[in-house]
């Protein structure tokens, strides 16, 4: 397999929060076009792994590559490569991120949320950004809400706007950090529907989730993490149908 086929590659990554060892020698990769779901109990390091990819957290040691380019290389909490701030922001704009708590900009309308970053980061002109923004809102089924402020939208609608906002930067990969965990149960479906559509369109996705149904139906590969380590990975059939490790079996029994 050639190196460039890796959209994400993580090598020997360790992460400490003080004395707490949250990621333990992680090796992890996502191939172009792949949908990878990361599952595991709370506190297993799934979200931290995701957040280390776009510098929202800094790894303590190890290497991170995005689309073949090294974006972080640290040894014992020290940069082992020169970190160029503008390069990091540029790299971030290629990694779309969807947060558990949406993090929409409350002072902007739905359309304003989608067009803000293209306009100020990519200097796209307003007309063009809005045209594309409307297409994206349409693709998440919210073109009628273009002028609503986030406070007036339901959680499910907010998260769909957040997905459109992430897509507006034409990311190479979308990262989802428990995108449905903060939603009322009846609103989960509409968000998963949008994510499914994206997955089938060939988008590379890394999804940290508790939605086992989604992982089973949509993922190309499922990664099970526990206590800061990758315990097991495989196709959904392997993970859900034939779990090997004791911890995965226990976890699946609990989530049934």
């Amino acid at each position: 397999m050639n190196k460039n086929a890796h959209m994400i590659k993580v090598e020997n990554v360790d992460k400490f929060f003080g004395d707490l060892h949250v990621l333990k020698n992680i090796d992890f990769e996502v191939i172009k076009g792949e949908v990878v779901c990361v599952i595991g109990p709370s506190g297993s390091g799934k979200s931290t792994l995701l957040r280390c990819l776009n510098h929202l957290e800094r790894i303590t040691s190890g290497k991170v590559y995005i689309d073949g380019e090294m974006v972080d290389y640290r040894v014992g909490d020290k940069d082992a490569m020169k970190i160029d701030g503008s390069k990091v922001t540029e790299m971030c704009s290629e990694l779309g991120m969807v947060f558990q708590r949406f993090n929409l900009f409350p002072h902007k309308t739905a359309l304003g949320n989608v067009t803000l970053a293209p306009m100020i980061v990519r200097k796209t002109d307003k007309q063009e950004a809005e045209k594309k923004g409307m297409e994206l809102l349409k693709s998440v089924g919210l073109e009628s809400k273009r002028d609503e402020y986030p406070a007036r939208l339901s959680g499910g609608q907010q998260q769909r706007v957040a997905i459109a906002r992430a897509m507006a930067m034409d990311p190479k990969i979308l990262l989802f950090d428990e995108p449905t965990s903060a939603l009322d149960p009846e609103l989960v479906g509409e968000v998963l529907e949008v994510m499914k559509k994206l997955a089938f369109s060939g988008m590379t996705m890394m999804v940290v989730t508790h939605e086992m149904g989604f992982a089973r139906d949509v993922a190309d590969r499922v990664v099970f993490m526990d206590d800061g380590s990758v315990i097991e990975e495989g196709t959904p059939e392997e993970i859900f149908g034939n779990p090997k490790s004791k911890r995965l079996k226990e976890f699946l029994a609990l989530t049934k």
């Binding site: 510098h55 701030g85 503008s86 993090n103 900009f105 409350p106 803000l116």
Partner: protein, 240 residues
């Protein structure tokens, strides 16, 4: 500014004389003049203080150790010493110091000195208000901005600061009122603003009512300001 023009009154004119038969127009003019000076002092020092306060707030929350320390010391000094003394330092002590060191005289216009001292003082308080406003914004907003590829400056100017405006207005309004009242302290360096005009009238004519009229004017100004700020607050938080 010619105040008689402003009031559309001419001292010798008919209207003036007619009004003068009901109220003492000389006293009214004096009060109006003092009120204008008070307003000028307030507005100018708040305007300049807002800019300086914002810069200091950004310094306070920056990760640069030197900036952090310098701005911390600034706030420490200006909040920890009396405004009255700060006014004297700017107007009196600094020119004398300059003279001691260089042997050359330095003349500072009292009005400029007053504005400058008020600005320096309010900037320290405003910096803390702005800092609290910025820190009160959920950190998910900065993360979302970063994840979309915005630089720190872009995230601040387009996402964080716009959201903090409506939260900052109530304490800002409070500081505005404080400065409005504290402009009276500039009378010590000879600024004839509202307080000084009133006290001169009162002691000159023995008319004790002058003091209460001044109080009424201050109350009127602070009430109007509070009203305006609460309107602005409503406007800026429409999206919530």
């Amino acid at each position: 500014m010619n105040l008689n023009m402003l009031l559309l009154l001419n001292e010798g004119g008919k209207l003036y004389q007619w009004l003068d038969s009901y109220v003492n127009m000389t006293k009214v003019s004096v009060f109006a003049r003092g009120t204008l000076v008070t307003l000028e002092l307030t507005l100018l020092s708040m305007l300049l203080g807002t800019v300086l306060g914002m810069l200091i707030a950004l310094g306070r929350i920056s990760r640069n150790k030197i900036l952090k320390t310098v701005t911390w010391v600034y706030v420490w000094i200006f909040r920890g010493t009396p405004l009255l003394l700060q006014i004297l330092i700017v107007y009196l002590a600094i020119p004398l110091m300059y003279m001691d060191f260089t042997g050359m005289p330095l003349r500072i216009d009292p009005f400029m000195a007053a504005i400058f001292a008020l600005m320096l003082n309010t900037a320290a308080y405003l910096a803390e208000i702005f800092r609290a406003g910025i820190l009160s914004i959920d950190k998910g907003q900065l993360e979302a901005s970063k994840a979309l590829g915005m630089s720190y400056t872009q995230a601040m100017t387009k996402v964080i600061i716009p959201q903090s405006v409506s939260r900052v207005i109530p304490p800002y309004s409070n500081e505005f009122i404080m400065i409005l009242k504290d402009t009276s302290l500039t009378s010590v360096i000879g600024i004839t603003e509202l307080y000084r005009e009133a006290s001169r009238l009162a002691s000159g004519t023995g008319d004790w009512r002058m003091v209460f009229i001044a109080a009424g004017v201050y109350l009127f100004l602070t009430t109007i300001s509070t009203f305006v700020f609460s309107k602005v607050e409503k406007r800026t938080s429409r999206y919530l």
